[in-house]
Amino acid sequence: MLKYIIKRILMGILTAFIVATLTFFIMNLVPGGPFLSEKAVTPQAQAAMEAKYGLDKPLFMQYLTYMGDLLHGDMGVSIKKRGFTVNDIIGNKFPVSARLGGLAVLVAVCIGVPLGSIAAFKRGKTLDNIIIVFSTAGIAIPSFLTSTLMMYFLSVKLKLLPSLGLDGPANYIMPVIALSLYPTCYIARLMRSSMLDVIGQDYMRTARAKGVSTFKSIFKHALRNAILPVVTYLGPLLASLMTGSFIIEKIFTIPGLGHEFVSAIPSRDYPLIMGTTIFFACFIIMMNVLVDIAYAFIDPRIRLK
C-alpha cells in the first residue's frame, strides 16, 4: 500500500515536470508577447522590460532558470499584475475558489447521492421520472445560463440576493447553485445506474429475505458498493471546482483563481501561465491519489498494486 502510494507520488512529480516543460515551450511558440500592445512601445522600453523579466536570454536558459526557481518553490513575478508574485496570486485566490468549489462539491454529493438512490429504488415510478428529467436538464443547461437567470430574477428583479463578491453567506447561494447543478445531476445519474446494478445482486435479495429493513439494506449494504463510481468522479471534480471557474467568477465578480487560468493566456503573462498550469496539474494528481486511497478503504477487495 505504502509502496503504491510512493510510486503514485513519484509518477505524479514526473507528470508535473512534463506538463511544466511542455507548457513552457508551447507557450513561447504562440505569437505575441507580454509587452506587445496596441501602441508600440519604443525598442528601448521593450528591451528594458525584457531584461527586467529575463526574457532577453535564450529560451533554453530561461527554461533552466525557471525550473531552478521552481524547485525552490519560487514561481516568479507576474508580468501583467505588477507587484504581485505568482505565489501571492495563487496564495490569495486559491482559498476563495477552494471554499466555493468545496461547498459546491459538498452540495453535489449531499443532494446527488440520495437523489440517485431514491430514483433507483423507485424505478419506473413518477418520482424516478421526475428525477430523471431534472438531472438530464441539469446536465444540459450550461452554468452561465443558470447564473445569468438567477442573477436576473433573484438579484435584479426581486433584489433578494447580492450580485457582487463574496462578502456574506448570502453571496454564496447563487454561485454555489450554479457550480453544483451539473455535478449534482451527474452524480444522481451515476448513482442511479450503479444502485440499480447493486439492487439486482443476489446478496441484496438475501438480505431482504433475511428480513433486513429497506433502510438498513440501502445504507449498510447497497450504498457502499454503489458509491464507488461517484468516488472515482469526485477526484477530478474536486480538482476542477476547487481551482475555480472562469465563467462563474466572471459573472459574480469573485476574486478566485479560475479567472487567472484563462486571462493569463491572452495577456501572455508567462510566469502566471506556468504557475497556474503547474498548480492545476499538481492538484489533479494529488486528488487522484487521494481518491485511489479512499477507494481501497471503501472496498478492500480492490488491491492497490
Binding site: G32, G33, F35, L36, S37, K39, A40, V41, T42, P43, Q44, A45, A48, M49, A51, K52, V77, K80, K81, R82, G83, F84, I89, G91, N92, K93, P95, R99, L100, L103, L106, T148, M151, S155, V156, K159, P162, S163, L164, G165, L166, K220, R224, I227, L234, L238, M242, E249, I251, F252, T253, P255, H259, P266, R268, L290, A294, F297, I298, P300
Partner: protein, 567 residues
C-alpha cells in the same frame, strides 16, 4: 465497522478541503483588516490637518471603470482604467480642470524661459504625503528619474521624457544625466532638448506624478498592492485592495486641497463582466458603470442616465502601403471613400462612435484656449469625407478604382482584412466586406486573437487591418505622428517626405500658432494620400445615476469623482 468509518473518508476529504479553504480566506480577511488599520493610523497620525477636511461626513460612492488594473503604479501604468485611479490618488505639477484646461496642481506656478528650454515650477507651501511626511521638489526629481530608469522599464518613459536633456543617457543607465533638478525644496527645474509647446500637458500626465522614494525602496513593485505602503499625494489614499473584487480609496486629509474634496470614500468595483456591472447598476449597488453591455444599448437610447461623450481617438483602417495594390494612392482612396461612415458609426456601432470626417476628431484642442482642432480643420480645409452624402463619395470611389486600372474591381486581387473579435470589430469587418464588395472586390475576413493581430500588423504581415489610436495627451501630433516614416506604430509603413517635414517643423517650433498650422498641413497631406482610412471617432459611453452630480468626464477617458455628490 471499520469499513463504515472508511466510507466517511470521502466525505471527510470534501469537508477538510472546504474547511482549509475557509481557514485560508479568513487569514486573508485578517490581512486586509490590518492593512486597513494601517491606513487609518495614517489618518489619525495626521489629525491636525484633518480638521480642515470636509464637514459633509461619511459620503461614499461606488463606481466601476474597468476590471482589475494591470498596475496603479503611476510610472508603470499605460492603461486608462489605471489612470482613472491614479488621478484620484496622486496629483502632479499641473492638472486639468472641468473644461480640460491646464491648471496648477501641486505646483502653484511655473515659468518658461524665452528660448522655451527651461521650465521652472514653484511648489505650494506645506505639501505632505498621505503618511504625513513632507513632499519636496526632490520627490519630483526622484520620480521623474525613476520613469527614465531602464530598471523601472516604464512603458511611457520615452514618450514623455525624450523631450528632456540627457534622456538618452538616462535611458542607457546613467539616470542622473536626466536634466531635472531641485535647487531648493520648493523649486523643480526641467531642461528640454528642444522647445516643446505642449510640455505643460505632458507635466499634467498621470505618469509624471510624484511617488515616495521611501516606500518604493522598502517594498519594490509591491508597494502598490498593499494599502499600508501605497503612499499618495493626491485627494485619496488606499484602504483596501482585493484583486478581482474591489479597491477602496479614502479621502486624504493631508492633501493640500482636501477641503474641496467631497466624497470621503470611493469604492472601485473591479468588475470584468459587463452584464455583472449592469446588474449591479440596476440593483443600485453601483452609481456609475463604464462597461455597459452592448446588447443593452438600443434599450438605453433616450435614457437620461446613459451618457455618450467623446474621447480623443480614432478608429481607422490601415493599408499595407508596401504591398500592391495598396501601394497605389487611388486604390486606398477608393476603398476609404466606399465606407459609409455614418452607417458604421450610427448603426453598426449603435451610435457609440461618431462618423469620422477627418483624422483628428473632437476633444483635441487647437491654438486658442477652448478651441477644437477638428473645427479648425473644417473651417480651413473643409471635411475630407462627405459624411452626409455617402452616394457622392461612393461614385468618386468607383471612378478612382477605374482610374487605378481596376474598373468595377476587375483584376483586383483577393485580399484579407485582419482583425480580432471584440467590440464591434467583427461587425465592422463584415460591413467592409459588403461595402468593398459593392466596388467589385473580394475580401476575406481574417479573425485572429488580439495579440496575434497586433504582432502581425506590426510586422507588416497583412493586407488591410483594423487599427485605432487613443491620444495620450491633448496635442494633435500625438496621433498625426503615427504616420511618420520611422514611427513604431506606423503599421502600414506609409512614408512621405513632405509629411515628415511638416511634422518635424511642428515638433521643433516655439510658436504655438506655427505648431498647429503645420499639424493641419500634415493632416491634409496624409488624408489626401489616403495613408489610412479613418472610420469613426471614439466615444466613452457609460451609465450614471441621475442623483450623482458634480462629476465630469474628460476627453482623456478619465472620470473625476472627487468633487461630486449624491443628492
Amino acid at each position: 465497522m471499520k469499513k463504515s468509518i472508511a466510507l466517511l473518508l470521502t466525505t471527510a476529504l470534501v469537508i477538510s478541503t472546504v474547511l482549509s479553504g475557509c481557514g485560508g480566506s479568513n487569514s486573508g480577511a485578517a490581512a486586509g483588516g490590518s492593512a486597513a488599520d494601517a491606513g487609518s493610523t495614517a489618518d489619525t497620525g495626521s489629525a491636525a490637518p484633518a480638521d480642515t477636511g470636509s464637514t459633509s461626513g461619511g459620503t461614499s460612492i461606488d463606481v466601476q471603470v474597468g476590471p482589475s488594473p494591470e498596475t496603479i503604479d503611476p510610472a508603470l501604468n499605460s492603461a486608462v482604467d489605471g489612470a482613472n485611479m491614479i488621478i484620484h490618488a496622486f496629483e502632479g505639477l499641473l492638472k486639468f480642470d472641468k473644461d480640460n484646461n491646464i491648471v496648477p496642481g501641486v505646483a502653484e506656478s511655473y515659468e518658461v524661459s524665452d528660448d522655451g528650454i527651461t521650465w521652472t515650477f514653484h511648489l505650494r507651501d506645506g505639501l505632505k504625503w498621505s503618511d504625513g511626511s513632507d513632499l519636496t521638489a526632490e520627490d519630483f526629481v526622484y520620480s521623474w528619474k525613476r520613469v527614465a530608469d531602464p530598471e523601472t522599464a516604464a512603458p511611457y518613459g520615452y514618450d514623455l521624457l525624450n523631450y528632456i536633456k540627457g534622456y538618452e543617457e538616462a535611458e542607457a543607465g546613467n539616470v542622473d544625466a536626466l536634466a531635472v533638478s531641485a535647487p531648493d525644496a520648493k523649486t523643480f527645474v526641467v531642461e528640454l532638448n528642444n522647445p516643446c509647446v505642449y510640455f505643460d500637458k505632458i507635466c499634467a500626465f498621470a505618469v509624471l506624478v510624484p511617488v515616495q522614494k521611501a516606500t518604493i525602496e522598502a517594498n519594490g513593485e509591491a508597494w502598490t498592492t498593499d494599502p499600508a505602503t501605497y503612499i499618495t499625494d493626491g485627494p485619496y489614499y488606499m484602504t483596501e485592495y482585493t484583486d478581482g473584487a474591489q479597491i477602496v480609496f479614502q479621502k486624504n486629509p493631508n492633501y493640500w486641497d482636501a477641503g474641496s474634496i467631497t466624497f470621503d470614500t470611493i469604492v472601485w468595483h473591479l468588475i470584468e463582466d459587463s452584464n455583472a456591472a449592469y446588474a449591479a447598476y440596476q440593483n443600485g449597488d453601483i452609481s456609475m458603470i463604464k462597461d455597459v453591455p452592448t446588447e443593452e444599448i438600443p434599450s438605453l437610447e433616450g435614457n437620461s442616465e446613459f451618457n455618450v461623450a467623446p474621447i480623443m481617438g480614432t478608429y481607422y483602417v490601415t493599408f499595407n502601403t508596401q504591398k500592391a495594390p495598396f501601394d497605389n494612392q487611388k486604390v486606398r482612396e477608393a476603398l476609404s471613400l466606399a465606407i459609409d461612415r455614418e452607417y458604421v458609426a450610427g448603426t453598426i456601432m449603435q451610435g457609440t462612435y461618431t462618423a469620422a470626417k477627418n483624422f483628428v476628431g473632437p476633444g483635441v484642442s487647437d491654438e486658442a484656449p477652448g478651441s477644437s482642432f477638428e473645427e479648425e480643420t473644417t473651417k480651413k480645409y473643409g471635411d475630407h469625407f462627405n459624411v452626409g452624402n455617402y452616394d457622392a463619395d461612393l461614385e468618386k470611389a468607383k471612378q478612382l478604382l477605374a482610374d487605378a486600372g481596376y474598373p468595377n474591381g476587375e483584376g483586383f486581387p483577393e485580399f484579407a482584412y485582419l482583425t480580432n473579435d471584440s467590440g464591434y470589430h467583427k461587425a465592422v469587418a463584415e460591413y467592409l466586406q459588403s461595402a468593398w464588395g459593392e466596388l467589385g472586390l473580394t475580401m476575406t475576413v481574417n479573425i485572429q486573437e488580439w495579440k496575434t493581430v497586433t504582432a502581425d500588423r506590426r510586422n507588416g504581415n497583412f493586407d488591410v487591418a483594423r487599427n485605432g489610436w487613443v491620444f495620450d495627451w491633448d496635442d494633435p501630433s500625438n496621433m498625426i505622428n503615427l504616420m511618420e516614416t520611422d514611427n513604431g506604430n506606423n503599421d502600414g509603413k506609409y512614408s512621405s517626405a513632405e509629411f515628415d517635414k511638416a511634422v518635424d517643423d511642428a515638433r521643433k517650433t516655439t510658436d504655438l500658432k506655427e505648431h498647429y498650422s503645420k499639424l493641419h498641413e500634415a493632416e491634409q497631406i496624409m488624408l489626401n494620400d489616403a495613408a489610412m482610412a479613418p472610420v469613426a471617432y471614439y466615444n466613452d459611453f457609460w451609465l450614471q445615476k441621475s442623483n450623482l452630480k458634480g462629476t465630469w468626464h474628460s476627453p482623456y477617458g478619465y472620470w473625476y469623482f472627487m468633487y461630486g455628490s449624491l443628492e
